[in-house]
């Protein structure tokens, strides 16, 4: 590994992290809106899903860049293995590991979505729920390692707070809506298919 360090790499790491955070939040909210079938008269419903798909890919591009510049920058001793394997970074072992775990989870979700038409839809759905695991881990990673936050420049914490609050709001909205709809657009079906599962076999 060649030793490269430049303040530009460091700026890059920080900038892509912030943009990635915002895009991930947007993608999560759009994903929730897709599932809850939120839409407006002048806004076609498929567009929500399309934006969700595209923003998530874009978010992952930024996060990958964030990881790459971190690894590439020899100022902090974070190596390629630490990009995928948690617990292997000598620098800020725990908080870097949180980032690694979140990155792995999100990568799994992205890959399973790219393979969506080839795997069982139940698998895709189950893997997609990993997002809910990745989100708090990523938030913790930002709080612990966001250098700006540490130094007391509170703008990053503000961005983070806005992101968390809006995603949480969307999540609550989605839960309320699903309680109302039970999976269908117009009215709840008369009876659920679960009913026909036998009591015992």
């Amino acid at each position: 590994m060649i030793a490269v360090t430049s303040p530009w790499l460091w700026y890059g790491t920080r900038a892509t992290a912030v943009v990635g955070l915002v895009l991930l939040t947007a993608s999560a909210i759009l994903g929730i809106f897709t599932n809850a079938r939120l839409g407006w008269k002048l806004w076609p419903r498929w567009a929500t899903q399309e934006l969700h798909r595209r923003s998530s890919i874009l978010a992952l591009v930024f996060i990958t860049t964030h990881v790459a510049t971190t690894v590439f920058d020899s100022y902090v001793p974070v190596h390629l293995t630490s990009a995928v394997l948690p617990g292997t970074s000598p620098y800020e072992r725990w908080s870097v590991s949180l980032g690694t775990v979140a990155f792995d989870l999100l990568l799994t979700v992205l890959i399973s979505s790219l393979l969506r038409n080839r795997i069982k839809i139940e698998w895709w759905r189950a893997l997609h729920y990993l997002t809910y695991l990745a989100a708090p881990i990523a938030v913790l990673h930002v709080i612990l390692l966001g250098t700006d936050a540490k130094k007391g420049s509170h703008w990053l914490l503000l961005v983070l707070a806005i992101c968390v609050a809006s995603a949480a709001a969307a999540f609550v909205l989605r839960i309320l809506r699903s309680l109302k709809l039970r999976g269908h657009t117009t009215a709840p079906p008369q009876r659920s298919p679960e009913r026909l599962r036998p009591r015992s076999r």
């Binding site: 079906p189 008369q190 009876r191 659920s192 298919p193 009913r195 026909l196 599962r197 036998p198």
Partner: protein, 421 residues
């Protein structure tokens, strides 16, 4: 030892006077022929017999039994599934066979299993059907067979007898129909193929194998040879399951069932997803070809007779409401469409309705038709359409002058409580 003679009539019910024991069965019909030679010769002989008869499945789909065999031939050792689900409320042939001739059913299943080198037979009986269960339990207990015969109890429900739902239940414990865009399709339990036959089909096979295709064809019509079980209910003196020779008329069938109670107002043929025939149908011969030309099918062998004074709008409404509640809730067009149809019909039947409301019903029929994973919604559409065409005068009367006098008369339909869990 009595000499074995081929029964003339009845066939399946030939042993009705001697009881359902295995001994009586052997005395009356003799041992079953075997098709279990080492090469596939036995299977070929059996296949030929099914083709020569030809034996048409009695489950309601009207599928030739040999077709199912031909479809299977590439796979080996399927699980033989005896479909005794009897989801149709107006049918009681399952109980009848279990009480009178369970060994014919077992013989048919065993011969198929032997010819296909299968080692397992599953008899599927609805979990609330204790009489059919008892009949088959007793019969299995009397047998010493190397092939395993077990009874399975899917939940009692209109659609659980549908082939894909039944196999789904046996395979994964979920009694819901599955989506099969290509039919006939290959159904599997675990890794093994499943061969599903209605229990009556197998009972016919037991006799066909013993007495030959010539004997089989000696009754019935050329396109619908043999006899079939028909459960007659509604406005007849003696509602019951009767063995019936194909080609004889609906009027004769009603005579057989003790005659009419209050005149003839039409009949529902083929079950609750079946077709109506009108007041002029007494001379209609009951065989596949004649029924087809009347736009009907026999289904699994069901006739419900309407009394002359009844209101067909009211009767069809009640059946559609019942069928809507029997939807298992998997497909949108069925979940929303059937209640919508029931509501349209109720409006037509019980209130003064407009041409617009009638057109709405017609629109809903086209919206629902063919759009479920199974044929449950299609059956309801057929039921309503045939009612509209056969009783169009009565519908017109409702449109013109509101509910008729008979709308609230007691129904002749068997409408069990919709089961909820």
């Amino acid at each position: 030892m009595t000499t074995i003679t081929a029964p003339t009539f009845p066939r399946l019910f030939a042993g009705i006077d001697v009881g359902p024991s295995y001994r009586a069965h052997l005395n009356r019909f003799g041992d079953r022929p075997t098709f279990n030679d080492r090469k596939a010769e036995g299977l070929r002989t059996l296949h030929q017999l099914l083709d020569d008869a030809p034996l048409i499945g009695r489950g309601g789909g009207g599928i030739a039994a040999s077709l199912k065999l031909a479809f299977l031939s590439t796979s080996t050792k399927p699980v033989i599934v005896v479909n005794a689900m009897e989801g149709e409320p107006a049918s009681s042939k399952g109980v009848a066979l279990a009480m009178v001739a369970p060994h014919l059913v077992l013989d048919g299943a065993l011969m198929l299993a032997e010819a296909l080198k299968s080692s397992q037979i599953i008899i599927a009986i609805a979990d609330d059907d204790t009489r059919t269960t008892q009949g088959f339990q007793r019969a299995i207990g009397e047998r010493r067979e190397s092939i395993s015969m077990e009874i399975s109890h899917p939940p009692a429900h209109y659609v659980t007898g549908e082939e894909s739902a039944l196999v789904h239940w046996l395979d994964e414990g979920s009694a819901l129909p599955t989506f099969r865009p290509i039919k006939p399709s290959f159904v599997k339990i675990g890794r093994r193929a499943a061969l599903v036959h209605n229990l009556e089909t197998l009972a016919h096979l037991a006799l066909l194998a013993r007495f030959g295709a010539g004997w089989y064809r000696s009754r019935g019509t050329s396109s619908s040879p043999g006899t079939t079980l028909i459960t007659v209910s509604g406005a007849v003196q003696s509602p019951s399951t009767y063995e019936w020779t194909f080609g004889r008329t609906l009027g004769e069938l009603i005579e057989q069932a003790g005659g009419l109670v209050e005149g003839f107002g039409g009949a529902l043929i083929g079950g609750y997803g079946g077709t109506w025939v009108g007041g002029n149908a007494l001379s209609l011969p009951i065989d596949h070809a004649s029924l087809r030309s009347a736009g009907a099918t026999l289904g699994p062998g069901i006739v419900v007779v309407l009394p002359k004074a009844s209101c067909p709008v009211a009767e069809v409404t009640r059946v559609v409401e019942w069928m809507a509640n029997e939807s298992v809730g998997q497909c949108g067009p069925c979940v929303y469409g059937l209640p919508a149809l029931a509501k349209d019909l109720r409006t037509l039947g019980w209130s003064r309705s407009t041409r617009n409301q009638f057109d709405r019903l017609l629109h809903h029929l086209t919206e629902v038709d063919g759009r479920g994973a199974c044929r449950h919604p299609d059956g309801v559409v057929r039921l309503i359409r045939s009612c509209l065409s056969v009783f169009s005068a009565h519908f017109d009367e409702h449109l013109r002058s509101g509910p008729c006098a008979a709308v609230n008369a007691p129904t002749v339909m068997v409408l069990p409580k919709n089961r909820r869990r």
